[in-house]
Symmetry: C2
Subunit: 339 residues, 2 copies
């Protein structure tokens, strides 16, 4: 089978590609090819796999070329992040809305090709976000958002994600694709450098101290938020892909599992895993712009439909930190040694 | 003040324009000009008013020209209807989604012009629809939908309306417009001929019998639906326009008032107003395509936020029929005489 991963050079996309290549199959079928579409070049280990093809460039420009290709499955992860969308309204619309529409139209075009008669529609998993939720004066946000909470997004990013959920649902209703939308919780701990996402600090306050660097936390200890590890997130995307339509249930987006934690709990876990000197590298310096965005995010999430698919959140945040340490190739001892 | 009405030659748009011209003011300011943008030519009585300017052509093509114009207020009513969108997916996307986006971008462009510094953003009322609601396997629809019911649209039309609600909300959040979305109930009794809307029969089963013609009802007597008269609908749009941001509350779409009626109650009212011979002109011939669409619509609606703005539904359906008879210039007696 042929698979397309948009945003395939990103953090989640890279991990998803590695996981799929290691499994060798998806939905019970052998994976013959994975196309990684991204603005950035794919990781070297992925390029070294003969099943992988990387395409570098904006997704919007790539979609025209996708019209006559037969992908069995698509993971649509490409997205401008929240901070970028707030800073550049047009970029957000183009990267998130126009690109998704063009991708769906390309897949729909394929469904209309003569050779595809009787072939199942391309399966697509759209990575939506917990950022679809927010408090609106007319509709207060519950402390814990569920699959049936009314999304009233308070950022362009969240608006685009929610709009795309509805596009995916309607293209699926018409049979042009077999689409499912899964709302990712904030993925942490991300490796690498801080990015433009307002949620970037949820990784930074763990990653930087473990690497011996100071990290600035732009919000208070009391801030609570639903998070998930990279591995659980990737497992969630694959499970949503492999679910039958009936098991997925309807066409409305679902929440992926969330571990609901406060910044204080994250730092307590950091201290438990890596010691007080590591924790001490986190400095608090309130950033009003970030704090205002985060204040409009849910403080926790519940994922009943995902649970029915067998998906569970991590048991605690220390496990997430240990996963990051294991992934980064260092030992906790070595990281502690940096302290 | 300058006002733009998209869909200004349509039924609701025409009535809105007449009402505004008669009032002479909106939001406490004198109306200097009303531009009616529509694919069809405007009504002669409107064109005869020196304050009215009609522009005929697709809205999408007109939006580029709107970028440098200063409208104080916009009523965005133009839309492809539900039946059209189901029959032609591209037409629906173009007419409802692309046109709304182009309109919002035109208004946003105006907000960025040098002369507009400090001027209030253009006020916009978007006519959304009760069709945003529908039953999804994952999210059963309540019998009575409210302002906070999760929309899971089951038609392209409903999907587009809901997507545009979120575009209007996000452009408003950024300050590019001062937008409000009001969900219209099914407007009845519409004059003229049946149109492509799946809801067309909600007018036809009253209008045709009153005109001495047979009418076919494609669904059963038990079908229940939230409706509103043309006059109450127009009053609702104006009230939502004139509401302060605080009174409107947040940026989430609100329901306009609904009279929840069954087909049986509609026909009982027809008989009460016009006699049994008129009612007898309604023949039942189930249309599975229409019935399937209607089965996914709410059976009733509540409009708490609209009520807080002072808006109420009609007391009963006979009043709606009497309004139609009064509007059509005939007397109930004369119409009865046709029986």
């Amino acid at each position: 089978m042929n698979i397309l991963i948009t945003g395939g050079a990103g953090f989640v996309g890279t991990r998803l590609a590695r996981t799929l290549l290691q499994r060798g199959s998806l939905d019970g079928r052998a994976i013959a090819r994975i196309v990684l579409a991204d603005q950035a070049p794919a990781q070297a280990d992925l390029l070294a796999d003969s099943r992988v093809e990387a395409r570098v460039g904006p997704l919007l420009a790539q979609c025209e070329g996708l019209r006559d290709e037969a992908f069995d499955g698509v993971f649509h992860l490409a997205s401008a992040v929240s901070g970028e969308c707030e800073a550049d309204f047009d970029l957000g619309l183009r990267s998130n809305l126009d690109s998704t529409r063009a991708l769906l139209d390309a897949l729909r075009h394929r469904a209309s090709l003569p050779g595809s008669t009787g072939a199942p529609a391309t399966k697509l998993v759209f990575s939506s976000s917990v950022a679809v939720f927010g408090p609106d004066a007319a509709v207060p946000m519950p402390p814990i958002v569920t699959d049936t909470t009314l999304p009233t997004p308070q950022t362009s990013y969240g608006s685009h994600k929610h709009i795309c959920e509805h596009l995916v649902a309607d293209y699926s209703r018409k049979g042009y694709i077999d689409g499912r939308s899964a709302r990712l919780m904030t993925v942490t701990v991300r490796p690498g450098r801080p990015n433009g996402a307002a949620s970037s600090f949820f990784s930074g306050i763990i990653r930087e101290p473990l690497a011996g660097l100071e990290s600035v936390c732009p919000v208070g200890l009391e801030v609570a938020h639903p998070v998930s590890s990279p591995q659980r997130t990737v497992e969630g995307l694959i499970a949503v892909y492999e679910a039958s339509r009936q098991a997925y249930g309807g066409r409305t987006a679902l929440n992926l599992p969330a571990l609901n934690v406060t910044v204080a709990q994250m730092l307590d876990a950091l201290e438990a895993v890596a010691g007080p000197a590591v924790r001490a590298r986190v400095r608090f310096d309130r950033d009003e712009r970030i704090a205002a965005i985060v204040a409009n995010w849910p403080t926790g999430a519940r994922a009943d439909r995902a649970a029915a698919l067998g998906l569970q959140p991590e048991a605690n945040f220390a496990d997430i930190i240990r996963q990051y340490i294991a992934d980064s190739g260092a030992t906790p001892g070595a990281l502690k040694g940096l302290a």
